[in-house]
């Protein structure tokens, strides 16, 4: 007998709106129904009503955790459109903030994954180790989150030389703690039992579903926008793209933990190579045209597209967050596993539901569904008005 078990409408761990309906036989999952789209905020439309310089503050709020990745992709898109050269120092500062964000995002995920398998000690420890990252971010940008650091043409604040020793010291501390945490995860037999061979999403499937970020790299699918489409100073620093083979939850955790070391490496190189200089180019107008910005967020490749008509606002702003691709991978990786693992697997892609929302419509008649475009919605709205008008006319005639 197939029973239906809900995960949602609020995720028990990630506290975000989503709805996975698991179809289970006993403890085994035989199917999954993924429904997202519970907190559509219309960010793209909002952004079309803000000036070029206001949009970074808006897209920062697409995701609380990727609050540097979205502005990064956006400013790259605008700079691409206007052909702006960014000063070298600003490029390095951008990299530092972006990689710090990767560190804090990955540590946050490790903690949540620990909480998910009932290992609350790992949860608390990982978040404790994440504190130095937030300290550095606060010292460098003024905020623990929503850094408001990036602007079109450069960055908004300089990184004072006086802060550099503190940053390096905190990085050493972080590296030591991250090593400890990585060992704790890699060596724990019970964590092995819980995560190895669970929720496998292999290379072939990654290609098929277009998985991105650590989800893809855990399965051996070699994508990393930092290396494939190097923006700013990414071609001037040396780092490795971490790859695993099995694509199970364990590999996803390992990829994230090892990427932390790479992030620390990148930040150290940036601090070393940085030279005094300008931190922003003055931008006076954005000429008509199109621009594309691609950046490797902690969860995978984030893509921003803008179109300009020469005015002071974007004509069109399109955002594609990596979670949109990654959440769909659950369709494959959850089926065949137990309910106990389903929650962990759906969390292992490090999903960010609110970032990726779009309007979906379910036809209750035959159970089918489609994603409605703006044109569809306008057409449906007009049809409904027409219907109501006819009804009103009918009433008047009868009355």
């Amino acid at each position: 007998m197939v029973k239906k078990i809900p995960i949602g409408p609020y995720h028990p761990v990630l506290e975000e709106p989503e709805f996975f309906e698991l179809h289970v036989e006993g403890e085994r999952v035989v199917g999954i129904d993924i429904t997202i789209g519970w907190s559509h905020r219309g960010i793209e439309l909002l952004s079309e009503h803000k000036t070029w310089d206001q949009v970074p503050f808006l897209v920062e709020r697409v995701c609380g955790i990727c609050s540097c990745s979205h502005p990064f992709a956006y400013v790259k898109a605008v700079e691409d459109c206007a052909g702006i050269e960014v000063p070298l120092r600003a490029q390095y500062i951008r990299l530092i903030v972006a990689e710090l964000e990767r560190l804090h995002s990955h540590l946050l995920w490790t903690g949540l994954a620990g909480h998910f398998i009932g290992y609350n000690t790992v949860f608390m420890w990982a978040w404790k180790y994440r504190e130095p990252v937030l300290d550095i971010l606060e010292a460098v940008t003024g905020n623990r989150n929503h850094y408001a650091m990036l602007r079109v043409g450069g960055v908004r604040r300089d990184l004072p030389e006086s802060e550099v020793p503190m940053v390096l010291e905190r990085l050493d501390e972080l590296e030591k703690n991250n090593e400890l945490l990585t060992k704790a995860i890699v060596d724990d037999p019970v964590i092995h039992a819980r995560t190895k061979g669970v929720g496998v999403f292999d290379r072939k499937m990654c290609r098929l579903y277009g998985a991105l970020g650590p989800t893809a790299r855990a399965g051996g699918y070699d994508v990393d926008a930092r290396r494939d489409h190097p923006i700013d100073a990414y071609d001037k620093v040396d780092f490795d793209v971490i790859l695993c083979e099995n694509g199970d939850v364990f590999d996803k955790a390992v990829v994230r933990q090892l990427e932390n070391f790479e992030a620390i490496k990148i930040i150290r190189q940036c601090l070393k190579q940085m030279e005094p200089g300008e931190i922003a180019t003055e931008v006076h107008e954005i000429p008509p045209g199109e621009g594309l910005g691609i950046y490797e967020a902690p969860r995978g490749e984030v893509l921003h597209y803008i179109r300009s008509d020469g005015g002071n606002m974007p004509l069109r702003h399109k955002i594609r967050a990596p979670s949109f691709n990654n959440i769909l991978t659950n369709e494959v990786s959850v089926v065949g596993e137990t309910v106990a693992d389903a929650g962990l697997i759906t969390a292992a892609v490090d999903p960010c539901y609110s970032c990726t929302e779009r309007v979906g419509i379910v036809d209750r008649g035959d159970g089918g569904r489609w994603v409605a475009s703006e044109g569809d919605l306008i057409r449906m709205s007009q049809e409904r008005t027409e219907k109501i008008r006819k009804e009103l006319q009918g009433n008047r005639r009868n009355g």
Binding site: P12, V13, V24, E27, G118, Y119, M124, A340, D341, G343
Partner: protein
């Protein structure tokens, strides 16, 4: 007169009131130690009492489609059974004369009732997560009862009697069970089984906050939830005492032995808390494999050693 004494024993000392107070204090120790391990501050000592008091004053919500009788009766059944187990154990420890033939077996039965009550209560809630939790609780019960009973039998075999009094007397004369090989092995098996009986991590599978959001007690609220929590607190108190009685010479309130009794109790509680905080939750199939595999073999080995006189 006898009846009044028994009622007093059951309701006040060493029954409900005493057990509930010490049990809740034990949960505070658990929460505080856990918090310190996790670099948190932890709650003040009266937090568990405040929790229960507050829950008692809250509205009780009955889920649509729930079987009311089963849903509300089961927490009470569980609480009464846990209290009864505690009363019997304490009376035997304080006044050995109150022991009766086969009270070990009676205790084993009674201590199963809270788990069974939660299975019925969870199923009666008509919540799919509650039902799933109930099915897991049942599997877990089948898993740990087998090694648990065999481990208890090691002690029984050595004392040559099913009564707790003779087990205690045997330990008083010939040294505690923990002094022998078979005793140590059974003790370890008992600790693991107790961890599962208390549904602590790594065996909190039926409740699994992050998978089933509470599982068997997902639908309980207000006073009913307070009763469920109290049952858990009392069981947290009963299990260490049961283990101490069987393997570690029992509890005594005379002279300096008060101190050693408390130390024994705290030691076992701390072991529970440490295991709880250094392990992730296992899956139900892994739990069953663990108890029917290594734990079963260990308990049988202990039994054989006991028969051979080690």
């Amino acid at each position: 007169m006898h009846t009044a004494k028994y009622i007093f024993n059951y309701l006040v000392f060493p029954g409900f009131v005493f057990t509930a107070v010490v049990g809740l204090l034990t949960t505070w120790v658990d929460r505080k130690v856990t918090a310190r391990i996790q670099w948190r501050v932890g709650p003040p000592w009266y937090q568990p009492f405040a929790d229960v008091a507050k829950l008692l004053g809250k509205e009780i919500i009955i889920p649509a489609g729930a079987r009311r009788t089963g849903f509300f009766l089961m927490p009470i059944v569980g609480l009464s059974a846990a209290t009864l187990a505690s009363t019997i154990l304490w009376l035997v420890n304080l006044h050995p004369g109150t022991s009766f033939v086969g009270d070990t077996i009676v205790l084993l039965y009674i201590m199963t009732i809270p788990a069974i009550a939660m299975i019925i209560g969870g199923s009666a809630s008509s919540n799919p997560l509650g039902i799933l939790g109930a099915s897991r609780e049942m599997k877990l019960l089948f898993a740990y009862e087998l090694p648990l009973v065999i481990a208890v039998m090691t002690s029984v075999y050595k004392a040559g009697s099913f009564s707790l009094q003779s087990i205690l007397a045997h330990q008083a004369q010939e040294g505690i069970m923990l002094g022998s090989f078979s005793g140590v092995i059974s003790f370890i098996v008992m600790l693991m089984c107790a961890q599962a009986k208390l549904t602590f991590v790594p065996f909190d599978i039926p409740e699994a906050e992050t998978e089933l959001a509470g599982g068997t007690h997902i639908e309980y609220s207000g006073g009913a939830l307070a009763v469920v929590k109290l049952t858990k607190a009392i069981m947290f108190f009963v299990m260490p005492i049961f283990i101490i009685t069987l393997f570690w010479g029992g509890i005594s309130f005379s002279g300096w032995r008060i101190l050693t009794s408390i130390l024994k109790y705290v030691a076992i509680v701390v072991i529970f808390v440490l295991v709880k905080n250094t392990n992730p939750r296992v899956r139900i199939d892994q739990a069953v494999r663990f108890f029917w595999g290594p734990m079963f073999i260990l308990s049988i080995a202990a039994m054989i050693l006991a028969v051979l006189g080690h």
